[in-house]
Symmetry: C2
């Protein structure tokens, strides 16, 4: 078989860029007699890869009793042989953890019921679900090693380096989800080593703080050794309590990296030598894998799951602009990590038969993901079947409303996949394309990790979580509505100096090295746009005013008139969720805006002798009003690559330098008309049907 590889730009087949179009296909559910026909249907829809779990609980039904091939549902090698024969690449997932709506989430019942000590534990000491295992618990690792000892050699015989179909092995599944959703980061005493000087957590703290006195100083505690330190169990109030949560989270993420490295090490040692993969369960979790990404290096590829409707309680049951901004930052994060953005679970159906998954919504979802950077994907699921006896967590069937039903019938959603497949085939050049952007958004990874604690400034609306929300609901949405397309840049990397402004949604804290990076950016001529704060703390929440001093130490404070009237750049009545004013401007700064009732300066611009500039705005807005569009135009100060007269139609241009595809996104329920003008002077007009992404080659 041809070799499927990847680089930072795209997937590659024998070196040539291609889109990875994978489909979830469980050999243990799809009836064996129908494997070939369904795989053929998948290929005809444009698929080139299939993905499957290899459930531990299925193959080791009682302890030490390993079974492969004895019944059709366990015919793993038969499945791999067929994939090879049909030239379909394979992503295999031998776990240990699976989820997959299997009983005990695919773990063996004998393991979960027989060894309760391996369960994850909350900070309050409560055991989580039976399948919420503590990843690094020695007993769990021991049993996993034995399972891997059986399954890895079988899979290893089918890797692409051996001429087989397996391009990727995925370790575990949606790591951390089973903790996050069932009680918080795992605090299993044995695993984390509380109370032991050589325990994992004490070692982590020693590495971070050196002396326990330093920790006591920052934590406001009086520990006599690192071994005594336990995770902070309550809701944080003081800044130092936030710091304790952050430290524990950083530690926890490092244990995930350790676990991943152990599993990959075993894969390699046991003969499963290929590329490795993992899926972040949701876009907000992508950033939790930074330690893992760093530890595993280029052997490893991270993807993310991008659902829009799994049951009625999802925010929306169809693709929406908010869905689009979420998957956009997800794709951008993956790109900045060096990967071709991969959606490991792209909706192919839903576990709920209602609300429905419709062909219109699916196609819209696929093209929205493509417009916003997706280079590889995996339909979850392409087709299902009956659960192995007594192994389904939700009854006997795993149909998932997939495009090929449990019994093999073709559903209308198959057509959406077929059309998407044709689009990718006809526009194969897009596999190596990139997006044309109009401004940069600075990505501060710390902000993306603030779901469980917001850091200092929370109560003032200046925490990390507020900043992270603001960038998305304010800067990104206002940008897209104004037809200024944002591109994320990693603030820990050298920043691009091509004239496009760099927007930063700032909280009170910013890593010292990022503050330095921003100084260099401005000194080198860059234009920085900062709102609503200027950071005054570093990543350990200790004073760090590099940037503030560079800006002449302006004094910024909350501004709360009864009836705020904000004007910036001549644009009146700009609505904002929070407002900060500047009483005394930095020397040399030029006021750009004012809150009229208090007379406070709400924005200024400071031009540096270097040619660089900093614009500060005291606003933290959510996109609402046309004034926000004007604000974006004013701040960007140049024509966009594509200008569009309808703020409800988002226009995104992708190019490989030669060809260009303009995507027009209408994620609303009415047909929308748009008049567009490209920077090349080309003009066009289109009516974009409701809930449709229209690709236009320009």
């Amino acid at each position: 078989m041809k070799q499927l590889t990847w680089d930072s730009q795209s997937y590659r087949l024998d070196g040539k860029p291609l889109f990875l179009v994978s489909g979830e296909f469980h050999y243990f559910r799809v009836p064996r007699e129908d494997w070939e026909r369904r795989l053929q249907l998948f290929r005809e829809s444009g698929g080139n890869c299939v993905a499957t779990y290899v459930p531990w609980g299925l193959h080791e039904p009682s302890e030490g009793d390993f079974r492969f091939g004895d019944i059709p549902q366990r015919d793993l090698t038969g499945f791999l042989e067929l994939c090879k024969q049909m030239e379909l690449h394979v992503i295999c997932r031998p776990g240990p953890f699976q989820y997959s709506e299997l009983r005990y989430a695919g773990l063996p019942q004998w393991l979960c019921d027989g060894y309760p000590q391996i369960r994850a534990c909350t900070a309050q000491g409560k055991l989580m679900e039976a399948f919420s295992v503590s990843y690094l618990h020695p007993l769990f690792l021991e049993k996993t090693r034995r399972w891997f000892g059986q399954v890895c050699p079988i899979l290893g015989a089918y890797t692409q380096e051996k001429g087989g179909p397996i391009a990727f092995a995925q370790f575990d599944n949606e790591l951390m989800g089973i903790h996050d959703w069932f009680g918080g980061w795992d605090c299993n005493r044995e695993t984390m080593g509380f109370g032991r000087e050589d325990g994992r957590f004490p070692r982590f703290l020693r590495e971070r703080y050196g002396q326990v006195e330093r920790l006591n100083q920052l934590y406001h505690t009086a520990y006599s050794s690192f071994a005594q330190v336990l995770p902070f169990p309550d809701k944080p109030r003081a800044d130092w309590e936030q710091l304790r949560l952050k430290d524990y989270q950083d530690f926890y993420f490092s244990t995930i990296a350790e676990y991943a490295e152990i599993l990959v090490g075993w894969f390699e040692e046991l003969g499963l030598r290929c590329q490795y993969m993992h899926n972040s369960a949701t876009p907000p979790m992508n950033a939790y894998f930074r330690e893992t990404v760093e530890r595993l290096g280029s052997r490893f590829l991270l993807g993310s799951d991008h659902y829009y409707n799994l049951h009625m309680d999802w925010d929306q049951n169809n693709p929406t602009p908010k869905y689009a901004t979420k998957i956009f930052y997800s794709n951008e994060q993956l790109r900045l990590m060096g990967y071709p953005p991969t959606v490991c679970e792209l909706p192919g159906g839903s576990p709920a038969e209602w609300p429905p998954i419709t062909p219109v919504d699916l196609k819209c979802c696929y093209l929205t993901n493509t417009a916003l950077g997706m280079k590889g994907s995996n339909y979850y699921i392409f087709t299902g079947g009956p659960n192995p006896e007594r192994l389904g967590s939700n009854g006997d069937s795993y149909d998932y409303n997939a495009s090929i039903s449990e019994t093999g019938e073709i559903r209308p959603t198959y057509q959406a996949q077929k059309e998407f497949g044709s689009f990718l085939r006809e526009n194969a050049w897009m596999a190596a394309a990139h997006m044309e952007s109009d401004f940069y958004i600075g990505l501060d990874w710390e902000q993306c990790r603030g779901e469980h604690y917001a850091g200092p400034g929370d109560e003032r609306g200046l925490g990390n979580l507020e900043a992270w929300t603001f960038h998305r609901k304010g800067m990104v949405i206002s940008g897209l509505c104004a037809s200024y397309v944002p591109e994320y840049v990693d603030l820990e990397q050298p920043l691009p100096l091509d004239g496009k402004p760099l927007f930063i949604a700032a909280s009170l804290c910013m890593r010292r090295s990022i503050q330095e990076n921003l100084l260099s950016f401005v000194e080198a001529g860059g234009h920085l746009i900062l709102a609503p704060a200027v950071p005054v703390l570093d990543e350990a929440y200790q004073p760090c005013t590099l940037l503030l001093e560079y800006l002449g130490s302006p004094e910024l404070r909350p501004c709360t008139p009864g009836c705020p009237r904000v004007t910036v750049g001549g644009i009146r009545n700009i609505q904002t969720e929070a407002l900060f004013g500047c009483a005394v401007l930095p020397e040399g700064a030029r006021p750009l805006g004012v809150e009229e009732e208090t007379g406070m300066t709400a924005a200024w611009r400071l031009d540096k002798p270097s040619g660089g500039a900093v614009t500060w705005l005291g606003l933290r807005w959510f996109h609402k009003k046309n004034a926000h569009l004007e604000l974006m135009r004013f701040l960007c100060g140049r024509e966009p690559a594509v200008s569009c007269d309808n703020p409800n139609v988002w226009a995104v241009l992708r190019t490989d330098g030669t060809r260009r595809m303009l995507f027009l996104l209408n994620l609303f329920t009415s047909d929308l008309h748009a008049r567009l003008r490209l920077s090349t002077g080309e003009a066009l007009e289109r009516t974009v049907p409701a809930m449709t992404v229209l690709p236009v080659e320009v």
Copy 2:
């Protein structure tokens, strides 16, 4: 002018049924020179009434300085004269509280800033927002009385009994919202009379408990007098803490009724004699007005506000099935209170220009409300204009993206209103129509009041809030998807005995009188379907097992196998959020279902000698799977009035006994096809476009 009145069936004009089609039209915002043209546009769109605030803060800009007619924005009588001339009925709202996106929510600045003692207060003693007034604070009442003394005589000269256009006066606006959203039920010490034997709260408690010893027994406290009792300030854990919250809430609701009665009394005393109205801010708040409804009697009409999109953070930005079920119970509650269901704020636009309000969504919203019972409505807003100087809380403009813009231009959404108006005119008979239903849903008002405390059973999934959620996400949605249309019945009223089954989503507690009512219902031959619990407590959370004993005291308990497989009535794999089993069946009961792994009975039916029957199911499901459709068919046990083969198309039939209108609701983003059969034998087929309600006369 003709007299606009109402009865339990409909609005009436000189005695003939008609739809009330009102539009929000603020004389203080719409430029006076354009009043007539815009009112004419409104009439042409089918409108017959306009509604306006009469802002206190505008007409008494400094204390004691009352102004009417000095500037165009204060030309109240000019506006009323014009409405009279144009034969448009008027709903006027002299407050005292307004909201209306005015500064201090329409209250005078001098009042809010000058008299901070009138502010509402949280249970923790924190002051709320400046405009969150404590309704019954003596000083607030005194100032209000003076304002009413000025404004009521002016309005009173224009009531319809005097030949004027005013059909309704609304007191206040969205009562309780300013407390609920900014800190909880008001605990202002002076207002509530804490610490005083003759204070409001002590008096309430004395009336409820007689002796403080009885209260101590139930509260697990040791007060020596009612005056000592304070609201419970924390999150409730124990049942008796839930009871304390409930008592305070019941008390608080009684103060709302007292406040309403005072305001209406002043209206009458000061010459504003007409029909009175108020708007519940959201459907979940309707039930908070029961005391007010009872106190004011037939002088009063309650309506509710039915928005679907006010900014990007609404669950959905277009009508959805969940929106439909919310406004459905809202309309049904209003109907059961004896009113023609009235939507006091029906979307006419949105304060946010993004996400957009589209003609498609609006028309869908209007017809969804009509299909589900709306008899009167008020577009919020029909048209706006500039805010009076310095009085807008969100800048200078109040455009609201309404169908007639701030500057008077006609927007595409006007067409949606025009089409809706034509529909109502062409089908005027529908004003007196009712819905044809297939089963009953029992409405327990206590359940609707459990937003802030769930009552006992919360942690077991058997609290009031869980039951209330279950009825809506389970019974109602499964019913509508299976084309069995539910109709709410008030469990405190005599229950209908026409062969349709009565479904009850039960919590652990149920008012004793309701338990008695249900017994009578079954004894009279009714079929009661009860899930997932049988109540064992009364409304004061004290043991009350009338119903349980009537059912032979079955022992029900949580059933939590690792991998539940529930079969009921031969329908396999029924998914449920919580599951209860019955170990020993009541004598004479016939098992209907089983959880296969544990062997526990999951459902049974008990036929009574009276001919009545009780079916119990241990399920609390959210609609997800086609098995839920089958379950509804099994439980209803008869053909529906309309059967529809597409669960995503909801079919609702309305009739006046002579004519019949079938509404086909497609609240999804794809066109949907449905084949329907009426109980009359008539068959039809329709493709319902995405996000569309199709009315079909049958």
